[in-house]
């Protein structure tokens, strides 16, 4: 008995050894044919609800590129890690991607704080990160490429539009963190440069000891649920007409805000609210009838009527229906600006790699700085010297369906991250 089982064990051992060898051979072959690309988004925690959509669209894009022959003959092999809405963890995961998995590029991050926490990692390893979500600017890391909307590609066109429509009073409101604070400070300077007097900019000012304005607008904590006082203030502010609200509230605090706003009797025809953090994806949980006629400003809307956009939406839906990736929600999916900017980012990276002729992150960044273009769902985007994108900007008003009807578009707006102090 013993003898037999011994032989069996030996046989088993050698067999496993052989198998391991074989698989090693296979994997080395694979390694030659693929290139590792990192995906760093929160797939759990508070931000998961927004960031999971970006993971989905990235995987879709990789499949699309691989089906068309990959990048310089190599297949993209995504390495997906979960930042879990935990900012220090983002840095750890970024280090894992870059140092351990040897990814040549990472697509990821949503909140500015997550970007700020991974920034040192990418600078240390001289690797490359594509960042896809509208942000406050005032940053240009040599190792980050910002496909995101800069303030002058979202907030400033929106304000231009409102000025053109004849609005004379602006109330600023936002969630208390870096993006709304910085954006509103830029807008405060911009509005003044357009001849709007300080008393017509609502929400309050905070000054430092020297009298410089360090914060403009009214701020609430994340997840704030009681907007009675603020809406009452807006109502008084708007009492003499021609007033509008610039809204940088983030996340689900928008629901109580818009409910309170609608209950106060104000409509989008009396006092429109232009929001910078509400895209098609967020509408799934917003009371659409309270938002009819309010405005949004992005560099992409799902309602853009172009063959490229229709193809993009149809292909993405087809991919969703066919995919077997765990955790992908298949019903009622929409496309929105951060998703399209992720999609554009991958194609720009591909174009830059092909231009540079290498996957080396620094060479790719150099190619990006020289300018590469891609015809995306929202029109052509071109990379700039300053790590941002030239792209079209659209202003839309909300329909009861949760889509936007496009009111105005600005062609080829250059992204400019450093705006503070430029409007005098």
């Amino acid at each position: 008995m013993n003898y037999h089982s011994d032989i069996k064990a030996k046989l088993k051992g050698s067999l496993t050894g052989l198998l391991a060898l074989a698989s090693l051979a296979v994997s080395t072959v694979q390694a030659e044919e693929t290139v590792k690309v990192g995906v760093l988004h929160s797939l759990s925690g508070t931000m998961a609800i927004s960031e999971t959509s970006l993971r989905d669209v990235l995987l879709f894009t990789f499949d699309e590129i691989n089906a068309a022959g990959g990048v310089m003959g190599k297949m993209i092999e995504p390495v997906v890690v979960d930042g879990a809405s935990d900012w220090p963890l983002f840095a750890e995961k970024a280090e894992q991607l870059v140092a351990q998995d040897k990814t040549v590029v990472t697509f990821g991050c949503w909140t500015s704080v997550s970007r700020k926490s991974v920034l040192p990692v990418y600078e240390k390893y001289k690797n490359l990160l594509f960042y896809p979500v509208q942000y406050e600017g005032e940053e240009m890391s040599p190792n980050i490429f910002y496909t995101a909307e800069a303030v002058n590609q979202q907030a400033i066109p929106a304000v231009d539009y409102l000025l053109e429509e004849g609005y004379k009073k602006f109330y600023l409101i936002g969630t208390d963190y870096v993006y709304p604070q910085t954006t509103n400070l830029v807008l405060f300077e911009y509005l003044q440069s357009k001849g709007i007097p300080v008393e017509s900019i609502g929400g309050g000012l905070r000054k430092d000891d020297d009298g410089n304005v360090i914060s403009a607008g009214n701020y609430t904590p994340f997840g704030h649920s009681d907007f009675q006082q603020i809406v009452a203030e807006i109502k008084t502010f708007a009492a003499s007409g021609d007033a509008c609200v610039i809204n940088t509230i983030n996340g689900d605090a928008n629901v109580p805000f818009f409910k309170e706003f609608a209950a106060s009797g104000m409509t989008s025809d009396d006092c429109p609210v232009v929001s910078f953090s509400i895209s098609e994806d967020e509408f799934r949980s917003l009371p659409a009838e309270d938002l009819i006629g309010h405005l949004g400003c992005w560099t992409y809307f799902m309602s853009i009527d172009s063959p490229e956009n229709k193809k993009f939406i149809a292909d993405f839906q087809a991919w969703l229906a066919a995919t077997d990736v765990t955790g992908v929600v298949k019903e009622d999916r929409v496309t929105c600006s951060p998703m399209v900017l992720s999609y554009n980012g991958v194609y720009l990276w591909k174009a830059a790699v092909e231009k540079a002729g290498t996957f080396d992150p620094e060479a790719v960044m150099a190619a990006l700085k020289e300018g590469v273009s891609f015809d995306g769902p929202a029109g052509t985007v071109t990379s700039q010297e300053n790590h941002h994108l030239t792209k079209n900007v659209y202003i839309g008003e909300t329909l009861e369906t949760g889509q936007f009807s496009i009111l105005e578009s600005f062609e080829n707006v250059e992204g400019e991250p450093f705006l503070k102090g430029t409007f005098k």
Partner: protein, 551 residues
């Protein structure tokens, strides 16, 4: 110019003739108005034609324009191609029924409907027209709103219309709105004497909307040396001061109401906990999830009503009334199950109850996510709960008023239950000494279960109300759990009256501090105040000796 264009121009001219002749004879003619509205939809994209039709409309005065504007605004106007004719039919959708806009007959829709949308500019014009028409609306509220808007436009063209109608207004509030509008108009276009009179009158009226316009006047005459400029300047400043003072009073009254309403939200979310934690001594971390159960119940019932009756139907209006008892029962049932299945084994071990219910809380949150998705769901308010009641510059939304009233109802009903029924006597006996009550024949097991269920049911009710003013989502309970414990602890554990008082107190303090310090610092200050308060009164407002503290 092709044939169809010529024909359309001809029809337009005809319509104009009809419109003009009718406005001379009778004021409103529905058929003419309808024809013009159809013309506006057909002329989509042709601004000049639309403008012509709009001018024609201004001659009409039919209330159908208001209905049309609402439908156009919310995407309920459709175009249906007709094979036999060049000009397509225009349909207006109301709830689920379609009517032919031209004839007013109801139509069964087919598949080839194309929605038609109004541009922003056209919509603004339409809104102005509707407002103008509302000046003679039988609805007094609408008449006031119309006068208010016309005044703010400061367009001298409206002055004759406003003045002519002022004498006919019998209602004091409406007459005031008309006078206010006239004065605001005159601030811009009147002569100096008219301006002076308007400034004085607006100051005496303490008109809030006029403040901005008065400031413009003050600026305009700041450096002027013309005769009379000085008098105007001074009375403008005086008027602004008067309005400012009045605005402060209004602000205080508004804050009082807002404090009351925030207090009522806190009271509703915390009252259930005041029973389960305060009275029974169970540290129930899953209390927030019972709130979410209430919220999701409203969501489900809303969806059921939308699918069965359609949005905007009269039956739909009642969904929220029905969902209140349902939310209560659903959460109460969940509470009873939790008590029977877990908490009754933990009465002597409060710390274990904390951990166990925390686990339950996470399980429930995950269940919500699996069932309803990670995103928040949207719940809309019925018509009778939307809108607000205005009173001398203070506006209170109906949903908040309803909420405050309901919070008081909850206090009264709970008090009656606890102090006027034999069940209440049993509850109080069991809470004081479980063994003793049991040995005297009180069915303490059942009393415990029912008390816990009642507390959980109140959380469900709170969730139902929150669905009207805030978010419904898997983690909505987390937003309120800390507040709930805060209220109960400040009020004094075991004292229901204390919980009521502390929730109103916290609500008031929060709303008073917010305008001064801003929402972020306001919230922090409230928490610091509570910490300091508990330093001096560790037992809360009404310290009581409950079993849970004796142990």
């Amino acid at each position: 110019m092709n044939l169809s264009a010529v024909r359309q121009l001809f029809t337009l001219a005809l319509l104009f003739a009809i419109g003009a002749s009718i406005s001379e004879t009778a004021h409103a003619d529905e058929a003419g108005t309808r024809a013009l509205l159809v013309e506006i939809v057909h002329a989509d994209g042709d601004d000049a034609r639309q403008q012509l039709a709009m001018e024609g409309l201004a001659e009409e005065g039919d209330p159908i324009i208001g209905t049309f504007y609402e439908a156009y605004r919310s995407g309920n106007i459709f175009i249906k191609k007709v094979a036999s004719s060049d000009s397509p039919l225009v349909l207006m959708k109301d709830n689920k029924d379609y009517t032919n806009l031209l004839t007013g007959e109801s139509v069964t829709p087919s598949d080839e409907l194309k929605p038609s949308r109004a541009g922003r500019g056209l919509r603004k014009d339409l809104k102005r027209l509707v407002d103008l028409l509302d000046l003679s609306s039988p609805d007094l509220e609408k008449r006031i709103a119309a006068a208010d808007l016309l005044g703010k436009s400061q367009n001298p063209e409206y002055l004759p219309e406003l003045k002519a109608r002022l004498d006919k207004q019998t209602d004091e509030k409406v007459a005031r709105a008309f006078r206010e509008a006239i004065y605001i108009c005159e601030l811009k276009s009147g002569s100096d004497t008219e301006k002076l009179a308007a400034v004085k009158a607006l100051g005496e009226m303490k008109s809030l909307p006029a403040k901005g316009f008065l400031e413009t006047v003050a600026k305009e005459y700041e450096t002027s040396t013309e005769p009379g400029a000085r008098a105007l300047r001074e009375s403008t400043r005086k008027a602004i001061r008067e309005i400012d003072d009045y605005q402060k009073i209004v602000g205080h009254i508004g804050t009082l109401f807002r404090g009351l309403s925030l207090g009522s939200v806190l009271l509703l979310v915390a009252y259930g906990l005041a029973i389960t934690f305060g009275q029974m001594g169970v540290i129930n971390m899953a209390h927030g999830e019972f709130i979410a159960i209430g919220g999701y119940t409203v969501y489900l019932i809303q969806n059921y009503f939308v699918n069965t009756f359609g949005v905007g139907s009269s039956a739909y209006e009642w969904y929220f009334v029905l969902s209140l008892p349902c939310a209560f029962l659903a959460a109460a049932l969940a509470g009873a199950l939790l008590e029977k299945g877990m908490i009754r084994f933990l009465y002597s071990r409060p710390l274990e109850s904390l951990l166990a219910t925390w686990g339950v809380s996470m399980i429930l949150q995950q269940l919500f996510r699996l069932q309803f998705g990670a995103a928040n769901v949207s719940v809309s308010a019925p018509q009778w709960l939307s809108g607000s009641y205005s009173f001398g510059g203070v506006s209170m939304s109906y949903s908040r008023i309803f909420l405050v009233a309901f919070a008081f109802l909850v206090i009264i009903v709970t008090w009656l239950l606890m102090n006027r029924t034999s069940w209440g006597l049993h509850v109080r006996a069991t809470m004081q000494n479980r063994q003793m009550a049991s040995s005297l024949g009180v069915p303490s097991g059942r009393v415990n279960m029912l008390t816990f269920a009642y507390g959980s049911g109140l959380a469900g009710l709170a969730g139902a109300f929150i669905s009207q003013i805030g978010n419904v989502g898997p983690s909505m309970g987390q937003t309120y759990i800390v507040d709930s414990f805060m209220v109960v602890v400040v009020g004094g554990v075991g004292n229901l009256f204390g919980a009521a008082l502390s929730s109103l107190g916290i609500g008031m303090v929060d709303q008073w501090l917010q305008p001064i310090l801003g929402p972020v610092m306001g919230k922090i200050s409230v928490l610091i105040t509570i910490i300091l308060f508990l330093q001096f009164k560790p037992g809360g407002l009404f310290p009581s000796r409950s079993r849970s503290l004796d142990d």
